[in-house]
Symmetry: C2
Subunit: 110 residues, 2 copies
């Protein structure tokens, strides 16, 4: 959780207003978010699939997915099978960030 009225929070707000880069980075810089977005874009779009692919606990995975959903990069469809099944999809915003992530990957090894 982010507290208000600390200079940390004030700085974050300043940057959010002054610099759109920071707003963008806040949405994608979570530790597992890059890989999650790539996997979903490739069809690995279930909670349990992602859990197999990433050395990460349910709890951490769940949190990253919640945040991606809150920022509207992904959406989910609950299919009431037994046990329940949930499919994740990229939104338009999510799809639009994939080429930028690929550009970042290329850039890293420059």
């Amino acid at each position: 959780m982010i507290k208000e009225n600390t200079s940390n929070a004030a700085n974050r707000q300043f940057l959010y207003k002054v610099c759109r880069i920071n707003g963008a980075l806040d949405m994608i810089a979570g530790r597992w978010k890059g890989l999650i977005l790539i996997h979903i874009s490739e069809g690995q779009n279930r909670f349990s699939l992602l859990k197999q692919l990433l050395p990460v606990s349910d709890q951490v995975l769940g949190k990253q997915l919640r945040e991606l959903e809150a920022d509207k990069l992904i959406s989910k469809t609950v299919i009431p099978e037994v046990p329940v099944r949930v499919d994740y999809q990229l939104t338009e915003k999510g799809k639009a960030v994939i080429p930028i992530l690929e550009a970042l990957a290329e850039w890293r090894d420059l």
Copy 2:
């Protein structure tokens, strides 16, 4: 500082190997780095100029600059005037990331 032999550190290493996106994000996701890179690219390339432009202490600014230098996004030239003057420049790698940062800024408001 990053400690070794914690699962936190292990996960970071895993991601560094498996996903170049994370390596890239580690270099640019520091709170002030986006703006610092943009300012330097526009010629606001001194410590004291950056300090005026950003609501940030010497210490934090210094640390972000040290990290950007360690990752080879910027380099510096010490000019032995009195008092000493230091100019920062973008390296080729630093120049190459600017269009990606601009794409991120555009993407944010999608």
